[in-house]
């Protein structure tokens, strides 16, 4: 983890809550992390783990009635959770931009893609239409759209899914943000297109000195892109680690179980896959103690009553597990 540079984003004890008729549910609880300049951070988890809500809350784009229930999101010493809507609008798309899963639903179907990018540019920069147009064509070329000048006046429906996502990325980087949040950017795409979009994102963040938070359910995508990976379960970050050791020697039993549940291309077809028993908990029914204990093969008495603290390991990794030290130690010894 890149601890030397001052973080560009410092998230402290973030909570997201949804006041519902049956009571308030808290699908994200006590999430803390920092993002260094140029860092590529992956937040992985299954559906309902709170990873997308975490991303949306950083942008203050939570779907109603969701709201930030506590904590701070610090950028340049300012707490984004306390900014006025007007100030936040300048941050959004300016210093921090978002790429969504579904490019079709985030592009305006009745406007040409060129016009949409020009608008995005002119929202954050005082430039002439002609200059914005030239910049938009340049951006479209940069994201790998063939014949960008001719494509400028096309409508989103004339593009394939991969091309639309390229347009979204062009729009997101148009104001030169410091932080790019990509929420399942390739989930709706075919596998061959997905690989090319991930490779493109990698090149762009390097060229433009951006830091990225990649939200994904796909550990393979995280492995291909991220320097560091945080694993979320039941609304909490349960393990933080540089990518390399996470995939080789996971500390948290959930990370370990998740990695063995993947149907890999080299998996022995004569044996069953090591599935995780049971279901992930719903936010209104988080188990007592460690939220993973009902599905954990290593759980013991303490796990059922006491929420494990975030244990900092000697190598800088962390895990919310009562056995974290032992598990990491055993692996170091082995």
């Amino acid at each position: 983890m890149n601890e030397t540079a001052a973080p560009i984003l410092d998230v402290r004890d973030l909570a997201v809550e949804f006041p519902l008729s049956g009571g308030t549910i808290v699908p994200v609880r006590g999430v803390s992390f920092t993002l260094a300049p140029r860092q590529r951070l992956g937040i992985v988890g299954e559906s309902g783990s709170g990873k997308s809500l975490t991303a949306l809350s950083l942008m203050r784009l939570l779907p109603p009635p969701g709201r930030i229930g506590g904590g701070e999101v610090l950028m340049d010493g300012r707490d984004l959770t306390r900014l006025s809507e007007r100030e936040m609008a300048r941050v959004r798309g300016g210093r921090m931009a978002l790429v969504y899963q579904d490019p079709m639903s985030s592009l305006n179907p009745v406007q040409t893609v060129g016009r949409q990018i020009v608008e995005a540019i002119r929202t954050h920069e005082d430039v002439s239409r002609a200059a914005a147009r030239a910049r938009a064509i340049e951006l479209l070329g940069e994201v790998g759209l063939p014949q960008p000048a001719e494509r400028f006046d096309s409508y989103p429906h004339q593009f394939s899914g991969g091309m639309r996502q390229r347009v979204m990325i062009a729009m997101a980087i148009s104001a030169g943000p410091d932080v790019l949040i990509a929420d399942e950017p390739t989930t709706a795409l075919d596998v061959t297109t997905q690989a090319r979009i991930i490779d493109l994102l990698g090149r762009l963040v390097d060229q433009h000195d951006m830091a990225v938070i990649l939200i994904t359910h796909d550990l393979g995508v995280a492995a291909s892109f991220c320097d560091d990976v945080h694993v979320m379960y039941a609304g909490r970050i349960v393990e933080r680690s540089p990518a390399e050791p996470l995939f080789r020697q996971p500390v948290h039993p959930y990370t370990e179980a998740l990695l063995s549940a993947i149907c890999r291309l080299d998996f022995d077809v004569s044996t069953p896959i090591a599935a995780i028993p049971g279901q992930p908990p719903l936010p209104q029914a988080i188990p007592e103690g460690c939220p993973f204990h009902p599905r954990c093969p290593h759980a013991f008495g303490r796990c059922t009553v006491e929420v494990p603290a975030d244990t900092l390991l000697p190598d800088g990794r962390t895990a919310e597990c009562h056995l974290a030290g032992e598990r990491a130690g055993a692996e170091v010894a082995a």
Binding site: E46, S47, G144, P146, Q158, F159, S160, G161, G162, M163, D190, V191, T192, T193, Q194, A195, R196, I198, D199, G202, H217, D218, L219, G220, V221, A222, A223, S224, C226, A243, E244, F247, A257, L258, L259, A261, I262, C263, R264, L265, F267, V269, P272, I273, A274, A275, I276, P277, Q279, P280
Partner: protein, 356 residues
């Protein structure tokens, strides 16, 4: 094309071993009748599914794999070709005969929530096919069957009275499987059956499907965009691209010695949960194993994969559609230049250099 079909027939004779035989199957949709524009969603597809085995159909969106699955169950009628189920031509059947045949074939869809009626309890959902196909069953017999089915798919009997909204995605998919199995079919089409569920649940469902196949002697058509999952589930695999099977072979053949450039591209694109492996593969992809999808709908001359193929600039690929031909016993590829990934990368590099 007849040449390849002949070859398929010679290698895979219509013996009693084959439960499903697909022969020259096509489904074209008219886009504009006056302009004579058609979409060839399925175009001259032939293969056979052996009894008790799984045939995997892999392809990206728009490849025609779901249309093909629907044709097999006669949920749609082919433009040309035929489907034989246990030797019976499904197109020739009267409505009554077809209903009888439907006992023997079932389908499980991708989205477990959308394919269940949210106003019916689990029990009502599972027993509906029994009410339709076996009206003579007494209610106690039906209830016993429902309990047996719940147990079979790993649900508790207390789930019988639950509604879909009270269940997780994985549990809903188990209900869909129980419903499909309620009338004891021989053949089940699994159309992206695990694509909408989380990793941990996907493993549970895949294990369950394999276990049920062993216990009940089921024959599967397993349709998916996910090559790793198709590999795990299938004995024989067909790779579809724009309506055609471009490569067909056993699991071993397809994964240890793939020959079609599109299959190579798919394999190079699957993200591997290992950062070290991924860094090496990014370079491999940068060498241009597969280009971007061109805009949808355009008719392509010659080989339909040539606009995305690293060898696609060759004259023959642009002019002549390659038939599905034998590359080794029981392994077919529709490519003028079938070869290994290594030799393809070399050929592509050589081709790119002189052109500048």
């Amino acid at each position: 094309m007849t040449q390849a079909r002949g070859a398929v027939r010679a290698e895979l004779p219509e013996v009693a071993d084959d439960l499903v035989v697909v022969d020259g199957l096509a489904r074209h949709f008219a886009l504009d009748k006056r302009a004579n524009q058609v979409v060839r969603a399925v175009d001259d597809v032939s293969f056979a599914i052996r009894r008790g085995e799984t045939f995997g159909l892999v392809g990206e969106s728009g490849s025609g794999k779901s249309t093909l699955a629907r044709l097999l169950l006669r949920l749609d009628r082919p433009t040309a070709g035929r489907v034989l189920f246990d030797g019976i031509d499904v197109a020739s059947l009267s409505a009554r005969e077809l209903r009888k045949l439907r006992w023997r074939m079932q389908i499980v869809f991708q989205d477990p929530f959308a394919s269940l009626n949210r106003r019916r309890t689990v029990e009502q959902t599972i027993e509906l096919p029994l009410r339709v196909h076996q009206p003579q069953l007494k209610s106690a017999e039906r209830a016993a069957r429902v309990r047996e089915l719940l147990d079979l798919v790993g649900l508790r009997s207390s789930h019988a009275t639950a509604y879909p909204r009270e269940l997780s995605g994985g549990q809903c998919q188990r209900v869909s499987i129980a419903r499909a199995l309620s009338i004891r079919p021989e053949f089940v089409v699994l159309d992206e059956a695990v694509s909408a569920v989380d990793v941990s649940i996907q493993a549970q469902i895949l294990n369950l499907l394999r276990e049920l196949q062993g216990r009940l002697g089921l024959t599967y058509l397993f349709v998916s965009h996910d090559l790793s999952v198709v590999r795990y589930m299938s004995n024989t695999i067909g790779v579809m691209y724009h309506g055609k099977i471009v490569e067909l072979g056993s699991r071993e053949q397809l994964f240890s010695s793939p020959r079609h450039p599109y299959t190579h591209g798919l394999l190079a694109s699957i993200p591997v949960p290992d950062p070290e492996v991924e860094r090496a593969r990014e370079r491999e992809r940068a060498q241009g194993i597969v280009r971007d999808e061109v805009a949808a709908g355009a008719e392509v001359s010659g080989c339909r994969f040539h606009p995305r193929c690293p060898l696609g600039t060759r004259e023959r690929c642009r002019a002549v559609e390659p038939p599905l031909e034998l590359v080794e016993p029981e392994h077919y590829a529709a490519c003028h230049f079938p070869q290994s990934a290594e030799s393809l990368a070399r050929a592509a590099a050589a081709e790119a250099t002189p052109a500048g």
